[in-house]
Structure formats: C-alpha cells, structure tokens
C-alpha cells in the first residue's frame, strides 16, 4: 500500500464525504480531532507520509495485502471474507451479565478475555450525552456498562490509539467494520515502526449496515427528552422496519425510512458488512432475537471463543447454511453496492490518483458476478 499524508486525507477523505468518523487518525498527533462524531483537522501538517493515511479505512486500502497480514491469504470474494467457522452464540450464565441488548455475546467474550488475561484492556464505546465516545476499560466489571448498540458514528479507534499511547500491549477491541479495517491496517505496521509488536490481542468486529450522523441523531434523540435517560435503542429484525427508543418512562417508535435520512454519505461507499478483518465478528441473527451470529476468523479468535464456550461464558450452536443465507445475501449485496459506488467514482484500483480500495481485478470481477442484488 502507498502511504501518503494529511494533505491526501483532507482532500480525499474529509472534504470528499468519505470519512466514516472511525477515529483512526485521532490521538496519533495534534492535528486531528473528533467532535460529535465528526473528524476534523486542526491547522495543517506538511508531512508527506503519516499514520493518518496509513491507518485510514478510506485511503489506499489494499485488501489483498491486508488480508495476507491478518489471514495469510489473498482477499476472498466470499460474502463473509476469510473465516474458519460460523456459529450462533449467546452469553452463558458464567458470564454473569445482568442485561444485554440481544444475546450478550460481545460482552461475554470481552469479559472472559479480560478475566483470563488474554487482554489487559478493552476499548469499548459509551454514551456521552447522546454521543458515542470510546472508553478504555481495564476492569472486567466495567465491560457491561459499555454494552448496547449505539447506531451513531463514533470514533472508537481514537480509544485504541489512546490505549496504545498509554502503553497497553494486549488490547481488546470492539469495532464496526470501518473501525475494524482501520485497526487491521494499524496492526500491519504500515509505517514500519521499529520494534513494532501488534498491540491488539483480540479484535471483535460488529456487523453493520450503516451508522447515523451523530449530531443529527442526537438532536433527534434530544427532541424526545433527556438523552441520559435512554434505556434502549433497538432496530428489531425485518420485517418490523422501525427503530425502538425507550427513554425515561416513554417509548418511541420511529420508521426506519426517517432514520435512514440520517445515514452519512460515507456509509454508502461501504463494502464490508461483517467486519471482515476482525478475529471474531458478531451480529444479529435475523428472526432470533436471543441469539447472535458469530464468525470465527482467526486461530486466536477460535481459541478464545472455544475456551469461553468451555468455561460457560458463551453458549454456541451450529448454524445451517440455510440460516446464514439472508446474512450472506445482505453482505454480498453491500459489498457489490459499495464497491460499485467507489468504482463509479474511480476510487477502486485508480490509476494516476489515490484509490480508496485496491483489490485483485479477478476478485473484484467475481464479487460483481456472484450472488444476486436482491433482498
């Protein structure tokens, strides 16, 4: 991959509506900052090469190179990317979780990993006055407090950078696909720092179809009352097509078409639904609101997952190919749509200018050919 600098980030990402607000460039240097879910740049940096560009999920991402760093193989055209196995999963009693949004898989995994010492800290996302902000949790009891879906764009990778800055060497992360992509790029040491050791011990990815513009979404929530009293934000699986909000002693139902107006343009370029560069990816199992789907992608992910199951923190079940078909269809659909939109904007394998994505031509062709644009 070609590492450039902040000039390219400002012009090609921030000012082009491609920034996902993942926070990958924040807390690396004094020039980037995030406020209310938006990444901004203070003053200007004149360096030709920087970690901002190297880590950004929207600047010169070479999927094949990245895939070989994380999985030791070329980028796969499969709907879920590279993986070892897929299960249904939910928290077991041993996890000791008192409440969770769907099935508690992510909280249980993080809690188990920290208690067993696989991770020394977990970078999660908490609610700060209606905005999602990263929080570094160093104690298993703190994990549950940061559980639950956020929906709005949050700069979680900023928290990963801060955990690294503070000397953490075994970090557990929970991140959306764009954030996971940024973390994976960082793990490949693209700027070739001396004595680099991958500080991420467990990367848990979250399925994501889109996020919401934080500022606008918070304004919407604020119009319903005190955002600090929001108990639940949920989008039940189809065919319900609404968002449910519980705040104070009231609950609201908002049609999804209203919510979709708050999706940033940047999300429409996204080609990754299942956080393909994580160790384990977790998301909703459509139609089963007490179960998650867990995609085990790496050997270390498999090891922790199996141990958590054996220790009773997680309960897993086999899943049939018929049951994962809707997710596969949605995933390939998003991949095709995102890549097609990027290709239309000449941002895939671009020649003579910066690309957002670089990918082997034959892989790209088989993605466009495979599956149906349906569902």
């Amino acid at each position: 991959m070609q590492v450039k600098g902040s000039k390219e980030i400002r012009a090609g990402v921030l000012d082009s509506g491609l920034c996902t607000g993942c926070g990958a460039c924040v807390s690396l240097c004094p020039y980037y900052a995030t406020h209310k879910g938006k990444t901004v740049m203070h003053f200007s940096c004149t360096r030709d090469e920087g970690r901002c560009h190297a880590h950004c999920p929207r600047a010169e991402v070479n999927l094949d190179m990245l895939s070989s760093v994380i999985f030791g193989e070329e980028y796969s055209a499969e709907p879920f990317g590279s993986y070892i196995s897929i299960y249904t999963a939910r928290a077991g009693d041993k996890a000791g979780l008192s409440s969770f949004q769907t099935a508690g898989t992510v909280s249980a995994l993080m809690k188990f990993s920290m208690e067993k010492g696989y991770i020394d800290s977990a970078v999660l996302t908490k609610n700060d006055n209606g905005f999602g902000v990263p929080v570094i949790v160093n104690d298993p009891s703190g994990i549950e407090k940061a559980s639950g879906s956020r929906y709005s764009v949050s700069p979680s990778v900023k928290g990963v950078n801060e955990a690294i800055n503070s000397g953490r060497k075994k970090i557990g992360t929970v991140s959306t696909p764009c954030q996971t992509l940024a973390i994976a790029q960082m793990r490949g040491n693209p700027v070739k720092q001396e004595n680099f050791i991958d500080p991420i011990a467990l990367s848990v990815g979250l399925f994501c179809t889109w996020a919401l513009r934080a500022s606008d979404f918070t304004d919407l929530l604020k119009s319903m009352g005190d955002v600090s009293t929001i108990r639940k934000l949920d989008i039940p699986p189809p065919p319900s097509s609404v968002m449910e909000i519980e705040t104070g002693n009231k609950s609201y139902i908002i049609p999804l078409e209203e919510i979709r107006k708050l999706v940033p343009e940047a999300c429409s370029y996204c080609h990754d639904m299942t956080a393909e560069f994580a160790d384990i990816s977790v998301g909703v199992f459509e139609g089963r609101n007490k179960q998650n789907i867990a995609i085990i992608r790496t050997e270390r992910g498999r090891k922790i997952f199996d141990e958590a199951v054996n220790a009773g923190y997680l309960i897993r079940e086999e899943i049939s190919s018929k049951d994962i078909a809707p997710l596969a269809a949605a995933s390939i659909n998003k991949k095709k749509k995102g890549l097609a939109k990027l290709a239309d904007a000449e941002l895939v394998n671009s020649e003579g200018k910066d690309a957002v994505i670089r990918i082997k031509k034959s892989t790209l062709e088989s993605i466009f050919k495979g599956g149906a644009l349906c569902c």
Binding site: L28, Y31, A33, H35, T46, R47, R51
Partner: protein, 644 residues
C-alpha cells in the same frame, strides 16, 4: 527638553516632538487625542510635561470625543490641540462638520498624521480632503523646523479666522528626526470661561451653535478668504530654483525633501525649480499664478491622492488667460505612482523622464535579482505576536473551537495587534478586518442572516481599547436586534499596539494620575449580553468555553479573554515560568508532531534547531507564559514556576 528655555538653540527632535514643542510655544492648554500610529507621540510628549506646563492632556475614548474635548477648551477661550491618525478624522468628521460651522474661540488645531503606504495601518486614508470638504485651512510642514513653527502659527491663524486649522503630518515627518531651533515658550496660564449670554449671532459671545446655517456658512467662507490673504504672504510657501525653470515641481510635506534630493542627484537644480507649499488649502492664487506662468511643464509631487494636483489644475484653468498653456505631470497621467509612499527614487524617475536626463539608479537586473534573492534566501520574518502574547493563545483556542464545531464559523476582526490574525501569526483566523469597532458591527449583521440560510457561527474579536472606542455601540446593536453572535474581547489591559496608552478600562490618565476605571464585564452585562470570562493562557478551558458558547448559547454573547500584554509594565521582564524542552522527548518532525510548536504555534521564543532536529527555548526572549507546555503533544516542553 520639550520645556527647554534655550531659545535659539538647535535640538534634534522627532517630528512629533517638534509639533508638541510648537504647541507649547503657542501656549496650548488642552490636548486630546486617540492613540494611533504615526500620531501617538504628540500626546505622549505633551502628557509627559503636562504637570510642569499646566496642561490638560487626555487620551479620549475615541477621536470624535477627543475633538469634542479639545473644542470645549477652545470654546472656553483656551488654545487646544487635537491629535489622531488619518482614519481618526473619519471618526471625528461628524462633529468636525458642525464645529467648523459654529466656529472656535481659543486657537484650535487639529493634527492628523497620515500613513502613506499603510506602514502601520489597514488603510491609506487621506485627511487632506477633509480640509476642503470642511472648508478649513490646511497646513503641511515640509521639515522638522516647520513642524514646530507651523504648529505654533496654526494657533494664531485659528484665532485670526475663529475656526479650526488642520495641520497634516505624515509618517516620515512624524517619526523621523531633524534639527529644530527652539522658540520662546508661552508659559502664561490663561483662565477659562465659557461665554454664552451674547447675541445668538455673535460667534464670540453667544451660544456656540451652527444655526442659522446659511448665515454661519457665509461667515465660515469669509474666514477662509481671510486665510487666503494670509497664505499669499506666508513664509511657509517658498520657491527655490531658476527664474524661468524648464520644469516646476510643486510639492508639500515630506515630498519637498524627496524633490530636493531628486534635483540634486540629477544635477538638475539649474533647470528645475521647486515651489514648496506649506499652506495647501485653500491655495494662494496669486502666488500660484505667478509661478505657473513662469514654467510650461509642471510636476506635482505629493503622497497618496492627487489633492494638490486637482486643486492646482482648477486654479490654472480658471486663470488660463494669464498663465497660458501648461503641461501637467503627476498622479493623473501616471508620472507619479497613485498609491503607496513617495520616495526620492520616484521623483528622480519622473524628473529624468520629463527633462530627458539619463539616469540609472539601480540597474534593473540587479534590482530584480535582489528581489528574488531576498524572497528565496532570506529567513521568513513575517509579522507575528511577541513571545508571551496572549493573542496567540486566544486565537489558538478560537481557531480550534471553530474547527471542532465544524460549521465553517469565522471571525470578524478589528483593529489592534490582534488584527495580525489575518496572518499565520494568528493561524489565519480573522476573515474580515476593517475599521475600529467594525468587526462587531459586521458580526451583528452576519448574526441576522439565519433566515437566508447562513448557519455559520459568527464570532467577532475586539481589543479592550477598541471596545470602548467603537465596539460598545455595535454590541448594543447586536443585543438589541437579537443578533446571533459571539464577541470575544481580547482584554490585554491597555492600548498595547500604539504604546500602552491608557483607556477607560485603565485606572490612570495620560500623565499616570489615578482615575476611576470602567469595568468591561459590567458594561457588557448591563448592555444585556450574556457575558463570560476566561484566561486565554488556559487553552483547554478557553477552547471548551468558546465551543460551548458557540454551540449551546444563542443571541449576542460576550467572552472576555483577559490576560495582560507581555510588554505591559507589570509583566515586562518578569517570567512566570522557566520553560525548557526535553530533547529526549521532543518528536521534532516525526509523525505525531511535525514541529507543532515551531511550525504552527510559532511563538518566537520557540526555536527550531535544524541540526539536532529538536525544538529549543530562546531563553533571552521567552516571556515565560508557559503556554507552549500545553501545546506540545508529547509533553516535551517543561515549565516550572519561577520563585519570586
């Protein structure tokens, strides 16, 4: 020395000192002004001798009020002086328009000091046109002796015609120095009394008013005719050169010296003559007619606008029968540049082309390569804030807050050192800059454009002195009209840019005597603006406050950023912190810093050592404010409190 009794002895005086001495020789009793380069030293010098010379000297809240204060002295029979920079006349002009109609009693002189080339200004204003517009006499000293002598005479002229006299100086006269032979000091202390019980139409004893206007206007024009008679015989207008010159240069002010130099350099003193005018409005027609008739080619040398040129051309046209055909050279035909300062080179170029005298000053190639070299090779020493200046810290926080907010907010600037925030010194934060107080007025307007879709946060900045000068009415306007804007008052506790003159917020007068001060915060609150304060040296709190006020408050609000100027007498030479850079921690140009302190923050007290690749503190000039320690992303800049 200003009060020296050594009459007839020569002293080296700065032009502004010469003017002050002239006023003292005239027996001035009241002097008022508003600070502004290049005029400030006149009031400052008078203030320094005020207790010994029985003067009342005042730094007024603005130029209009200073003219009113000086006028009161005149109405009470005292000789009074009013001093300001060129654009101050615009501020004072409304009162001036009425003052010239009511007339004056004690001699009253208005001294604007113009700044051709805008060396210390954001305009190239011309005060001379006001003399014509207001129909009052205009005097322009041509050297330092004249600066003193003409000032003294201006008071006599004012009393002779019972009206204000304008004496115009320029930067190169006000701020350069030359020999001046002193005259006798007038040490009589006149008593003041305002008479008003006479006839309504009696300008000497009745009320001082402008009505009935046609009557007073007729009187005023008659006064001006009287001035013409005096100008015809004035020793301040003189001719030097051959009887029938090939070329006649007509000039005034500092341009007289440039013209003399040009003729000497070209060895053209036998071919060209110089008519140096000291009384430039109204022109003395007989004197002009005599000299215009003696030459066929006329070159008019003056600074900024073609004021003399236009007036002379009108006079020549009116008298074409006796003068005959003349070829004029000047600004209108491009012989003399129509903007910027004049200098001997411009005059040499003009004269050599008119008289066909070959002249190569600096070879063109040499000049060009000099320009290129100075641009490419010399260190970039742009205008910037001093080490320890609170403005740098203030703009750091304002700029960052506007960036974080992310809605294209902008700052309407105002007049002071802090205007430099149009430059990298203030991170280019200012996006409009005009006249005193106008930033807040413009912001008041921007803050009403929401209904047309303007959703950008609107911020104005204004200094403490500027706030009193013209910012207050703009804030009243913003509050009253419900404008959505934030006024940031950069309160560094003094009129810092012009040399630390006091203003109404400072508890002392021009001479250092104690006075009650006016509290800015209370003023803003009583106007009805939601008012906050912060210490700009606390950059994280200041950034948070700006952002919070922009995002969570509406209407006209005020944030006072209070921290004294680093050059203020209270702070100068006293460090709060010892500051140093730990070179083991400093990241230099590495990713993660890239010289934030020396490349972006750019306090002159921070120096980039290119051989070690680290930042260092220049301990000689570091003012010890300690702000850079908070800027450094790596914590490499250390500060420790200085034990007193």
């Amino acid at each position: 020395m200003l009060l020296s009794k050594s009459e007839g002895k020569e002293f080296l005086l700065m032009g502004n000192q010469a003017i002050a001495r002239g006023a003292l020789e005239a027996g001035v009793s009241v002097a008022a002004g508003y600070p502004g380069t290049p005029s400030s030293e006149i009031i400052e010098n008078l203030a320094a001798v005020a207790p010994d010379a029985d003067l009342y000297v005042e730094w007024s809240v603005n130029e209009k009020v200073s003219l009113e204060v000086a006028a009161a002295g005149s109405f009470a029979g005292l000789r009074s002086l009013c001093v300001m920079k060129q654009n101050g006349v615009n501020v004072a002009s409304d009162f001036l328009l009425h003052l010239v109609l009511s007339g004056t009693r004690g001699g009253m002189v208005l001294i604007p000091c113009d700044d051709p080339g805008a060396i210390s200004s954001v305009n190239e204003g011309e005060s001379r046109y006001f003399a014509r517009l207001m129909e009052i006499p205009l005097l322009e000293p041509g050297d330092f002796q004249e600066a003193k002598d003409m000032t003294k005479w201006a008071f006599e002229l004012s009393e002779e015609i019972s009206n204000v006299v304008m004496l115009r100086s320029v930067t190169r006269l006000s701020h350069a120095s030359g020999n001046v032979k002193l005259g006798e000091l007038n040490r009589a202390k006149p008593s003041a009394k305002f008479n008003f019980s006479g006839n309504l139409l009696d300008a000497k004893t009745g009320p001082v008013i402008t009505a009935p206007v046609p009557f007073r206007h007729t009187q005023q024009q008659a006064k001006l005719k009287k001035a013409i008679d005096l100008f015809e015989r004035s020793p301040f207008n003189r001719y030097e050169g051959p009887e029938n010159p090939e070329l006649l240069i007509i000039t005034s002010s500092a341009c007289y010296l440039y013209s003399r130099e040009a003729l000497r350099v070209l060895d053209a003193e036998k071919r060209a003559g110089i008519l140096k005018l000291g009384t430039t409005w109204p022109l003395p027609p007989e004197l002009l007619k005599k000299h215009l008739a003696a030459a066929d080619k006329i070159l008019i040398v003056e600074e900024v606008l073609p004021f003399l040129e236009e007036n002379i051309k009108i006079l020549a046209m009116e008298n074409i029968d006796s003068i005959g055909k003349i070829k004029f050279f000047g600004k209108n035909n491009g012989t003399i540049p129509s903007v910027n300062e004049m200098n001997p080179d411009h005059v040499i170029k003009a004269v050599s082309s008119i008289l066909n005298i070959p002249y190569t000053g600096m070879p063109e190639e040499y000049e060009k390569s000099g320009q290129i070299l100075s641009f490419t090779k010399s260190p970039n020493r742009e205008l910037t804030f001093c080490p320890g200046c609170p403005h740098r810290a203030s703009y750091w926080s304002i700029n960052r807050a506007l960036t974080l907010n992310g809605k294209n907010g902008f700052v309407c600037g105002d007049i002071g050192c802090y205007t430099m925030a149009i430059l990298p010194a203030g991170f280019g934060t200012i996006k409009t800059a005009h006249s005193m107080g106008s930033g807040t007025g413009v912001a008041s307007g921007f803050g009403k454009l929401k209904s047309f879709g303007l959703n950008q946060p609107v911020v104005s900045v204004c200094g403490d002195s500027t706030f009193f000068h013209a910012g207050m009415p703009a804030l009243v306007n913003a509050v009253h009209n419900g404008s959505d804007m934030l006024l940031v008052i950069l309160d560094n506790s003094g009129t810092a840019m012009t040399g630390f003159q006091p203003h109404p917020g400072i508890p002392s007068d021009a001479a250092g005597n104690k006075l009650p001060s006016v509290d800015i915060e209370s003023v803003c609150r009583s106007i009805g603006a939601k008012t906050f304060t912060t210490d700009p040296f606390n950059i994280s709190e200041t950034e948070k406050k700006v952002l919070d006020i922009i995002e969570n408050e509406t209407g006209a609000r005020v944030l006072i950023m209070r921290q004294g100027c680093a050059l203020s007498p209270e702070k100068k030479g006293k460090k709060k912190y010892n500051v140093s850079v730990d070179s083991n921690i400093c990241k230099g140009t590495d990713c993660g810093c890239n010289r934030l302190c020396t490349r972006v923050f750019r306090c002159p007290g921070l120096v980039w050592n290119s051989s070690t690749g680290k930042a260092v503190i220049d301990e000689i000039i570091c003012a010890g404010c300690g702000v850079c320690a908070d800027i450094c992303p790596s914590g490499a800049i250390k500060r420790s409190e200085v034990m007193s």
